[in-house]
Amino acid sequence: MIEYLLIAPILTGILCFFTRSKKEVEAVSLTGSIATLVIGLILVENVYRQGVIISWTNALFADAFSAFIVLIVSIVGFVASVYSIGYMGHEFKHGIMDLKKLKIYYVLFHIFMFTMLLVGVTNNLGLWIAIEMTTLVSALLMILYTKKSSIEAAWKYMIICTVGITFALFGTILTYYAAVKILGETGDALNWTSLIAVAGQFDPTIMKLAFIFILIGYGTKAGLAPMHTWLPDAHSEAPTPVSALLSGVLLNCAMYGIIRFYTIATKSTGVDFTSNLLIIFGLLSLGVAVPFIILQEDYKRMLAYSSVEHMGIIALGIGFGGVFGIFGAILHMFNHAMTKSLMFFGAGNVLLKYETKEISKVSGIVKSMPATGGMLLIGGLAITGSPPFSIFLSEFTILSAGFLQGHIISSVLFLLFMIMIFAGFFNNLVTMTFGTPKPGIMPGEMSRWTLGAMAILVVFVIVLGVYIPPFFYEMIMKVVAVVR
């Protein structure tokens, strides 16, 4: 089952390499991503029915949490591939991309998908390998454009994330050491399933050190402040569909790593140590995001910073703990993935139309591109956490968790930062969307594909804002059970 899930994108990637025309490669990648989505959904469904699935001699496994990640990856991946057709098609039409590059793009795209899916379903601490792979592939995707800025961004991304990931590996080794002392030197000493069982007996001091390394390591990848510095560069310089994947999914993957280790470490170090660290880093990320969002001149960077903020919120949710907190955090992962991708897609359309990333040079989107503008406004309201959109629910849950767990000050700070970010973000959004577009901007949407992709996400954003389907609720509750 899981194998198929992994093979599908690889296969698609390879096929993409052997295509001969734009039409072909698009068709292949679309079918491939649909296949991935379907398999992913089936997998999720199975996990939902029968609990943990293990295969490949324990190397791969999928419990509720992995399934959840798989769900996010496959949905956003699918939407992104739909969007890519519109976006890259436009680039292709305007000769920014030739066929060779287009093919490379799609190949890498699907390999990227593969790596992220792998993150979800590896059973053991080898999770590290998968995450490192995501870095490598996405770096390659980033330097598709040979612009100076994108190369710089790619370099920073590469270096900083590799450093981070190295720390993560160190943390992994320490955890393994702690495990080995209990279990003896078996391959199982790395598997979640066996680790969770004995995590209680681990040496707390070692686990503390390990957790610090893991938090800094995967935190770097997840864009927690102050290790977030690479993030705005990378996310703003990557091709838009990739930005969506980076912000919406990849960060979640890194978060996934942190949360996994959080579960293990907490069992031995006690909840205070881990959750306090998470709360500190979470608040730090929120706080760091504020000034950069308020005084931002580049809308893609603004979105990137808002990702930093939202990762902070997820960390907060986990840190606050309790059913509420973790439920909120998990739900937030999903909502953020959907909303942020929506925003990046909208930003992509704007970029294609106005050919600038500067906020001050963009105006009157609602007139030049009504649909995009409308959906951008919805997304903007959602991303800043105002009802009746999905993110509000998760954020409110996290906030209330903070209150109920007695972290009053942190929660109040959280609320304060949220309001400031809302003001900053919305100010920029209003300047962009309203008013009258500058002369020379032809009215008219970009393409059906892009709008379709956005529309799918808008549905998620709105529906989850007012109604959480029971099965979805249960799914998340299962994840919560895994995490606690």
């Binding site: 270096i159 800094i216 205070d272 308020i294 005084l295 009746p388 409110f396 109040v412 300047t431 008013g435």
Partner: protein, 674 residues
């Protein structure tokens, strides 16, 4: 049972209006007619529904039991009253709108407007109905967001965008406080449904109660536009289209009052005296400051917005008095004060709606909001003139119009403090009565200026020259409200019993706070002999009118018509009329300290004695904005600029951060802390 049908009915009609607006998006006229019509039908249904709840019993159901978010509806007499207010306003405004939106035909997207309009109404009603904190927050923000989109409907203008942004941010801050308050409740009750909040209200510790009340007061106060959180209001309300600002000012800000009553009376039982005092104080300050800014405001829609602040203040005075009485175990008096507040709330929604529609129609036919540029319209727009005059008379509390009754009630309820033995209460209430009197006088001043400058004497500009009477639907909409504010003026004896039931439902009185006599006489049993009968007054005045009429019109003499006397100048033009700013000058001089007026004069002389041209510019300063809000914003901006340096762009620095945090955490471990 009939309630269900009515409830579903009006919700359905608003939805229908919204949907049809989208369906017929292309055909402006058709679209506007259908959606506004269905809105008004919905309003009628809502009216019937609320009446049946007020006279019948509470109406509640839960849409999706036990899910997140849970949608529970709970409509008791209080909520029903607010639905009543909303429905009345919506009915008139919808009729008005069918005419008003013709201005936008071809220029802007009518379907979008109609859609938002209906959704806005629906969201307001849902706010009233909500019985669950999360649901409430959702619909509350929905209301704010939709109203924001309505405010920026004419988003081509930069100031409109600014106003909208300002509005949405302020209301968001308010929501933040509301969330805090709700979380305090939830912390005690362990659930987000309002029933459990009610239960929690009695078990909470005083500190929690106080903070819950305080946060709610601030949060909803921002929405209601109380001083010092009022500053968004004079920007947002003028920016919106006329019909929308009528709804926003007339109804939307009342939803905040509703929640304030809900929380402080229904949940917390108004147990602390200082709540009442603070509400009273804030109300008093809002009333006086609001009207002071209104008096000197040349832009009529801004003026009306400021006067909304004033009226919210008056409502809060009633509310505060009611809380004080309740906390002193005087439920009857508390009910009386509450009724004064509710009555004024109803009146305000009527006459303020009327005046905003009037401003809308002036804008419609003259395309200027500046009072200085108008004049002499009473000859060009006779019907509007009469209708607006009625609105003006009501808002300046002239007997026997509606405003008079509610202000009389407010004064009486303040007077009833002699039943308390707390001197502090007596002093406070008397002072606020004095300030209220000043407010009333200034309101008369302000609206006299408004009417006089806009309608009387000679037109001061081309726009006013070529103004024409507005179309029938607009007149009909205003007419309905004008009629209503006369009715509310002379028939309080029919309204008060209803209010009595409502107040009784959550204050816990018998519902016999007033006794009613012949000629619609209202008297207050709990204090000797105080009574009033507006029909009586009206009758007396009407009868006595015959005396001057007889004197005037017996043996008709001819009335030669001649120019206005202007110191023997050959002829009088609009140029030597008294201007609006000159009219309000005394007040400006009186309250120099508040306004900090900045004036500049340019005089050029043709000869030593003869002035050739004379230019006078005078501006007043918004104290709160200048001294409180701007500094805060500047501070945040400065801090942000400072903080931004961390993103230096140097990869070494970035690695340095990681290094630093690593070392810090190492130290943390070595120190052996957990």
């Amino acid at each position: 049972m009939v309630d269900n049908y009515l409830f579903i009915g009006f919700v359905a009609f608003y939805l229908l209006g919204a949907v049809s607006a989208l369906v017929f998006n292309k055909k402006d006229a058709l679209c506007s007619y259908i959606s506004f019509l269905s809105a008004s039908i919905g309003a009628l249904a809502g009216f019937a529904f609320s009446l049946s709840v007020i006279l019948g019993d509470t109406f509640h159901f839960i849409l999706n039991e036990g899910q997140i978010p849970e949608f529970g509806f709970f409509i008791d007499k209080l909520s029903a009253f607010f639905i009543l207010v909303i429905s009345i306003s919506v009915f008139a405004v919808s009729i008005f709108s069918t005419g008003y939106v013709r201005e936008y035909f071809g220029k802007k997207n009518i379907g979008y407007l109609c859609f938002l309009y209906n959704m806005f109404i629906l969201s307001m009603i849902l706010v009233i109905c909500a019985n669950n904190a999360i649901m409430f927050l959702i619909v509350w923000e929905l209301m704010s967001v939709i109203s924001f989109f309505l405010v920026v409907y004419e988003h081509e203008k930069i100031e409109t965008r600014k106003a909208g942004f300002f509005y949405i941010v302020m209301t968001h801050i308010g929501t933040g406080f509301i969330i805090l308050s709700f979380l305090i409740f939830a912390g005690t009750s362990g659930s987000f449904s309002f029933e459990t909040f009610r239960a929690a209200g009695s078990t909470m510790t005083p500190f929690l109660k106080d903070s819950a009340f305080l946060f709610a007061f601030i949060g909803f106060g921002i929405k209601a536009g109380i001083v010092p959180f009022h500053i968004w209001l004079p920007y947002a309300h003028p920016a919106a289209p006329g019909n929308v600002s009528a709804l926003m000012s007339g109804v939307m800000i009342k939803t905040a009052i509703f929640m304030l009553i809900r929380i402080s009376f229904d949940f917390l039982g108004a147990s602390q005296a200082w709540w009442g005092y603070s509400v009273l104080a804030v109300g008093t300050i809002s009333a006086i400051l609001g009207i002071l800014y209104a008096v000197v405001e040349p832009d009529m829609k801004r003026m009306l917005a400021f006067s909304s602040i004033e009226n919210i203040g008056i409502i809060l005075i009633g509310l505060g008095a009611s809380m004080i009485f309740l906390s002193n175990e005087k439920p009857i008096l508390s009910a009386i004060a509450m009724m004064a507040a509710l009555y004024h709330l109803l009146n305000h929604s009527v006459f303020k709606g009327l005046l905003f529609m009037g401003a809308g129609s002036l804008l419609y036919s003259t395309h200027t909001k500046n009072i200085e540029k108008l004049g002499g319209l009473i000859k060009r727009m006779p019907f509007s003139a009469i209708l607006i005059l009625i609105g003006v008379l009501s808002i300046s509390a002239m007997p026997p119009f509606s405003g008079f009754v509610s202000e009389w009630l407010t004064f009486q309820s303040l007077l009833l403090t002699f039943n308390l033995d707390s001197n502090f209460a007596i002093i406070m209430l008397s002072i606020s009565a004095a300030v209220l009197a000043l407010t009333g006088a200034l309101a008369a001043y302000c609206f006299l200026k408004f009417f006089g400058m806009v309608f009387l004497a000679l037109p001061r500009s081309e726009n006013a020259q070529h103004a024409r009477e507005v179309n029938i639907p607009m007149l009909a909409g205003m007419g309905f409200f004008a009629l209503l504010s006369i009715m509310l003026g002379i028939l309080p004896a029919f309204i008060l019993p209803m209010l009595d039931r409502i107040a009784a439902s959550f204050i816990g009185t018998s519902g016999q706070s007033f006794s009613f006599g012949t000629f619609g006489t209202i008297s207050i049993p709990s204090s000797a002999w105080i009574s009033i009968s507006t029909p009586g007054l009206l009758a007396i005045v009407l009868i006595l009118m015959f005396i001057p009429i007889i004197i005037l019109f017996t043996s008709k003499r001819n009335m030669p018509v001649y120019e206005t006397w202007g110191c023997g100048q050959p002829f009088s033009t609009a140029r030597n009329e008294y201007s609006a700013i000159a009219f309000s000058k005394p007040v400006q001089m009186w309250f120099k300290g508040l306004y900090r007026p900045a004036r500049e004069m340019e005089v050029t002389y043709s000869s030593q004695y003869l002035k050739e041209s004379f230019k006078f510019k005078s501006e007043i300063e918004q104290v709160f904005e200048k001294n409180f809000y701007t500094p805060v914003v500047d501070f945040v901006m400065a801090m942000s600029r400072k903080a931004k340096v961390i993103q230096t762009g140097s990869i070494h620095a970035y690695l340095g951060y990681i290094f630093g945090i690593l070392v810090i955490l190492f130290m943390f471990i070595i120190a052996g802390g957990s």
